[in-house]
Structure formats: structure tokens, C-alpha cells
């Protein structure tokens, strides 16, 4: 198979990878380790130790962890219900849950802005019912809601795929051997859906950790995440070196968290719960 023509076939992909992945990455590494004059420095990386920078990183880690957990707790029972009622992939119900994935993410967040605003839909309803207006927008809770809503389908789908792969009789066999529902869940279903859980956690945790749009639109600049810091370095301060340095730090956190998550994934291939 390794003849010359097959190598030529790969060339478009190699050009793509080099042009759009390797070169940008190297550029970030270059900027991250140099100062404005182009001299080598660690100071851009060390910037993370400044309170204004590590505080948002810490906040990002907490918020993305919490939103991943909430997504998981919402998605797993839902996926189980879909499986229980034998709702197939082509059904309208599954389609409705996956539909938001095909919509622009910013639009989805904008919708929440409209709902949560001071004079928004929810407060409008509260006022109409003669209840006091609530302060909803620009809170940590608002950002969390945005994250959960935005990334929930990415958790549902891999869990649903993983659960649908379990044979009915595997579950029946566990009941037959005396297991309770809770034992079936913890000893059979959860272990067999680990690949799906890993996919889902990855698909929610990483974008939640790096987002700046959700915190911008629902946090109103008050809930400052690491994504916002990096965005500001590039867009407002035009400090590419500083922004790249912090991006590299964030990348390290992503890689480490993925290594931790993937550690739980069995080496045995039990059918990875892919996204689509």
C-alpha cells in the first residue's frame, strides 16, 4: 500500500495540517516565548501567576467542571429514557435534542440573554404576576446556564450512542442474576458506557474551559474567564506575546485534563461512543 501514488493522495491533508494547524501552533509557541523585541522569555507564561490572570483561570476550571457535571447528570437519565423507550436515532425526539447543535452557538446564547435580561422575558413574566424582578443576567449562574444549554447536546449524543449499544439481554441478564436497578446502573450500564462518558465529558469540558463568548454575553464583563483574558490581550491590548503565553498555559490545562479523563477509558475497545 505504501507506494508513491498513495503518498500523493495524502498531500492535500498534509498541506491542510501544516497550513492550518502546525504553523498557527508554532506561531503561538513563538509569540508565547518571546517579548515584543523578539527576545526569548518565560515572562508571558509566568503572567498566569498574576492574580488578575490565575483568578479567571481558576473560575474557568470551576465553571467548566460544574457545567460538565450538570450536563452529565441531565444527559445520562435522558439518554437512559431514550434507550428505555427504544427511541431510535431517526426519531423526532432525538432530533429535537440534537437540533440546537446545528444552530449558531452565539444565537443560542443571545436567546438566553433575551430571557434573562433585566427587562427580559423571565422578568416580564414575573412582573406580570406581580412578583419582584430578579437579578438574573451578569451572574455566575447565568454563565453556567449558558454553558449547560450550549453544550448539553454534545453530552447527550455520545451517551445515547453508548447506551444504545448495550444489548437488552445484557441488562436482562443482570436483573436475572438478582441485580437491583441501582446495581444494574453502577455495575453494568456505567462501566459499559465509559467510552461515551469520556467523549461527552471531553466535548463539554474543553469548550466550556476556553469559552469567552458565553461569559461576555451572559456575564456582562463581570464574570471574567480565562478566555476573556486571552481575548482581551489579543483584541484590546494587542499584546500577542502575552495572549499566546496564556493560551499555552490554557492548552496545558486542557491536555492534562484530557489525560486524566482518558485514563478512565478502558484500553479494550468496546465501541467508542462517537459524536455523530
Amino acid at each position: 500500500m505504501k507506494n508513491k501514488s498513495s503518498r500523493y493522495l495524502a498531500s492535500p491533508y498534509i498541506i491542510w495540517i501544516v497550513g492550518f494547524i502546525v504553523i498557527p501552533l508554532l506561531t503561538i509557541v513563538y509569540y508565547g516565548f518571546t517579548d515584543k523585541s523578539g527576545a526569548f522569555t518565560f515572562s508571558n507564561i509566568a503572567e498566569i501567576l498574576v492574580w488578575e490572570n490565575y483568578r479567571p483561570l481558576y473560575r474557568s476550571l470551576i465553571l467548566s467542571a460544574v457545567s460538565t457535571l450538570v450536563c452529565f447528570l441531565l444527559a445520562y437519565p435522558l439518554a437512559m429514557i431514550l434507550r428505555w423507550y427504544k427511541i431510535g436515532r431517526g426519531s423526532i425526539i432525538v432530533f429535537i435534542f440534537i437540533l440546537p447543535m446545528w444552530m449558531n452557538s452565539l444565537l443560542r446564547i443571545l436567546a438566553w440573554q433575551t430571557l434573562l435580561e433585566r427587562k427580559g422575558v423571565i422578568n416580564g413574566i414575573l412582573t406580570a404576576m406581580h412578583l419582584p424582578e430578579q437579578h438574573l443576567i451578569n451572574t455566575t449562574a447565568a454563565v453556567l446556564i449558558g454553558m449547560v444549554y450550549d453544550f448539553l447536546p454534545f453530552m447527550i449524543l455520545p451517551l445515547y450512542n453508548a447506551l444504545m449499544k448495550i444489548d437488552d439481554n445484557t441488562i436482562n441478564a443482570a436483573y436475572d442474576l438478582g441485580a437491583s436497578f441501582w446495581q444494574v446502573l453502577t455495575k453494568i450500564m456505567l462501566p459499559l458506557t465509559v467510552p461515551g462518558i469520556v467523549s461527552g465529558v471531553t466535548m463539554v469540558f474543553v469548550p466550556a474551559l476556553t469559552t469567552f463568548a458565553i461569559s461576555n454575553m451572559l456575564g456582562g464583563g463581570k464574570i471574567y474567564l480565562i478566555g476573556n483574558v486571552i481575548e482581551q490581550e489579543f483584541m484590546q491590548d494587542s499584546d500577542w506575546n502575552q495572549g499566546s503565553g496564556l493560551s499555552l498555559v490554557l492548552m496545558m490545562f486542557v491536555i492534562v485534563s484530557m489525560l486524566i479523563v482518558n485514563h478512565f477509558d478502558d484500553k479494550k475497545d468496546m465501541g467508542r461512543g462517537g459524536v455523530i
Binding site: N169, D176, G178, L192, K268
Partner: protein, 360 residues
């Protein structure tokens, strides 16, 4: 006869408006090997699932050891199931699979260890404890599924077409294994299959089902030698099913010829169905005085231990005949059947019964 371990009373079940089981009543004796036999869709698997607790009947009761277990969930029943395609837990080792039910019941680890060893020995897989499921062949996986079930010491073992996925040689081997296991364990087996040979080989009691009804239940010999209707006769082995008229007791007319038989009580000049097994049709010389019907040999297939032949009689009926003696096509022969080999069945009376008949 021993007492009833399981009683099914008037079980009715339908899915999406389609009747799967219609008022099924059946007693299963303790320590017997019972087979539910029938074509796919006959309701045999549904019956098994109702016994196992995976389905609830719409109507009727399931009694286990005299107690009503109709609404008892599967995990509370004193029985275990061996599933079609084994349904082993893929993320566990063989040892963990077998120990699953015992760990649920909080048995001590030393007890579990002994039990695993005993069960693996029983299914001829000593020393397989640490192996992974994927390293096993289909036959070995099935043995593990059986071991996983029997360590729980069920009083009743349900087997849902457990040999369906195995090749012929292995299947025959496993049939003997299952009979041996049944005798060693001294428990009741309920076995579901569509393979009539399997049913006849292994069971003490065969329940032939079709379209949600029990067509006939009895010993393998009874089912084979005295089928009660055309469906059973046709489903169990090959047979010649011909229309006849019961002239009087012990005398039946088939295609204008009179055959002596051993059945009585049908009345006089009563239309009946007659079943004659292919191995019971004897070919004699055309001018032999024993010959009752005369015909011409038409087809022949060599089947190994026998020749499968067809003989066409003047009325156009093709008789299926099994014999070790070869009779070339074109040869004029006489046919003779011993009275004891003629099985008389009532014709279906109503449309309802007609619907249960043979599907071609």
C-alpha cells in the same frame, strides 16, 4: 409423576394489538426437561420471557412452587436464564461474570471462589477463570453463560435457543452436555428451540407451539408417533399427510385403497387426515400381495444413511419414502404400510382450528 414446579394459567399476551399468546395453560413438573418447540413467532420465547419475569402477561397467572409470581420482578425470582447469544458482561472477566449473581447476594469470597471452580468444572472449562470474554469461542461463551446461571443454584433454568449460534457438530456435542448437566444438577430445565431434532433428543416433555397456542404437549415419542394434528405432524420430522375416510373402526380408505389401522372411535365414513412417516412406507414388488397402493418411483436423493425417494400414485400424490434400499426412478412398485404405523387425526373442524393448520 412428580409435582408441579411451575404452572402457567390462562396466559394471554399481545403486542401492538397482535395476539402472541392466547389463553395458554401449562404445568411443568419438577425435575423435568421441557422444550418449547415451534417456528419463529409462535410465542415460545414470549412464554419464556414471561416465566423469567421480563414480560408481564396481559391476563393469567404464573405460579412457581404454588406461589403466584406473576408480578414478581425478574431479580426476585428463583430461576435463571441462559440467553440467546449468551449476553455475557463484556467488561468483566470470566470469573467476574460467573461471580456476578453471588456477589449481588453478598456471598463470601471463599464461597464464590469454590463455586466458580465447581461451575467451570461442570461445563468443562477448568482453569478459565482469568480469561477475557473475547478470547472464547461461541461454544465456550455459551458454557460460561450456563455456568453464570447455575452457580446461583436456581430451581429452574430457562434456556432461550442457547445453541442457535453454534455450528452443527458443536450443537450436537452441547446437546449431550446439557442432558448431562441437567442430570447432575437435578433441576428443571425449560428449553426453547425451533429445531425439532434438538427437542426430540433432549427433552422429557415437548410442548409444540404455533401462533400462540399449544398444538400438542407430550413425550418426544408421543409427539413423533402420534401427532394430534397436521401442524405437529408436519413440523416434527417429514411426513405424508393425506386425506382419508375412516370407514369403520380400524379401517381407513386412502385414495380408494383400504388400509388396516389401529385407531378407533372416529365413527363411520368420517373424513380424517392420515399421517404416515416416510420411513414407515414400505416398498414391495408391484405384484406382491401385500401391496395396497401401486405407483411409480419418480425421484431419488441419496442422504447418507438413507435414500429419500418419491413414489407417485395414480391419483397424483407424491409419497415421501425413506429407505436404505434403492429403487430407481421409473420402476413400478407397490406400497404397504403396517397398521400400527398409520396415525389418524381429526380434520380441523372450525375455521379457527383451520388457521392453526399447516402453513406451506
Amino acid at each position: 409423576m412428580s409435582r408441579n414446579l411451575l404452572e402457567l394459567q390462562n396466559i394471554t399476551k399481545s403486542y401492538d394489538g397482535q395476539l402472541i399468546l392466547d389463553d395458554l395453560t401449562l404445568d411443568i413438573h419438577e425435575n423435568s426437561f421441557v422444550t418449547f418447540l415451534g417456528p419463529s413467532g409462535c410465542g415460545k420465547t414470549t412464554t419464556l420471557r414471561i416465566i423469567g419475569g421480563f414480560e408481564k402477561p396481559d391476563k393469567g397467572r404464573v405460579l412457581f412452587d404454588g406461589k403466584d409470581i406473576t408480578n414478581l420482578p425478574a431479580n426476585k425470582r428463583q430461576l435463571n436464564t441462559v440467553f440467546q447469544k449468551y449476553a455475557l458482561f463484556p467488561h468483566m472477566s470470566i470469573e467476574e461474570n460467573i461471580a456476578f449473581g453471588l456477589r449481588i447476594k453478598n456471598k463470601s469470597e471463599s464461597y464464590i471462589k469454590d463455586k466458580i471452580k465447581y461451575a467451570l468444572k461442570l461445563v468443562n472449562l477448568d482453569g478459565f477463570e482469568k480469561r477475557s470474554i473475547d478470547s472464547l469461542s461461541g461454544g465456550q461463551q455459551q458454557r460460561i453463560a450456563i455456568a453464570r446461571a447455575i452457580v446461583n443454584e436456581p430451581r429452574l433454568l430457562l434456556l432461550d435457543e442457547p445453541l442457535g449460534a453454534l455450528d452443527l457438530k458443536l450443537r450436537q456435542e452441547m446437546q449431550y452436555e446439557l442432558i448431562r448437566l441437567k442430570n447432575e444438577l437435578g433441576i428443571t430445565f425449560i428449553y426453547v428451540t425451533h429445531d425439532q431434532e434438538e427437542a426430540l433428543t433432549m427433552s422429557d416433555y415437548v410442548v409444540v407451539m404455533n401462533q400462540g397456542y399449544i398444538q400438542q404437549a407430550g413425550s418426544p415419542e408421543q409427539i413423533y408417533n402420534e401427532p394430534e394434528n397436521a401442524f405437529v405432524a408436519d413440523f416434527i420430522g417429514d411426513s405424508n399427510i393425506v386425506p382419508g375416510v375412516m370407514l369403520e373402526d380400524y379401517l381407513v380408505r386412502i385414495f380408494g385403497a383400504e388400509f388396516k389401522c389401529i385407531d378407533a372411535g372416529f365413527g363411520t365414513n368420517k373424513p380424517v387426515d392420515v399421517v404416515i412417516r416416510p420411513e414407515d412406507v414400505e416398498i414391495v414388488d408391484d405384484d406382491d400381495p401385500r401391496a395396497i397402493l401401486h405407483g411409480e418411483m419418480t425421484h431419488i436423493i441419496f442422504k447418507g444413511e438413507i435414500y429419500e425417494m418419491e413414489c407417485t400414485t395414480p391419483d397424483g400424490f407424491e409419497w415421501l419414502i425413506h429407505s436404505t434400499e434403492l429403487h430407481e426412478p421409473g420402476k413400478k412398485v407397490g406400497l404397504y404400510v403396517k397398521p400400527s404405523n398409520i396415525q389418524i387425526m381429526n380434520k380441523p373442524e372450525s375455521e379457527d382450528e383451520e388457521a392453526l393448520g399447516v402453513e406451506e
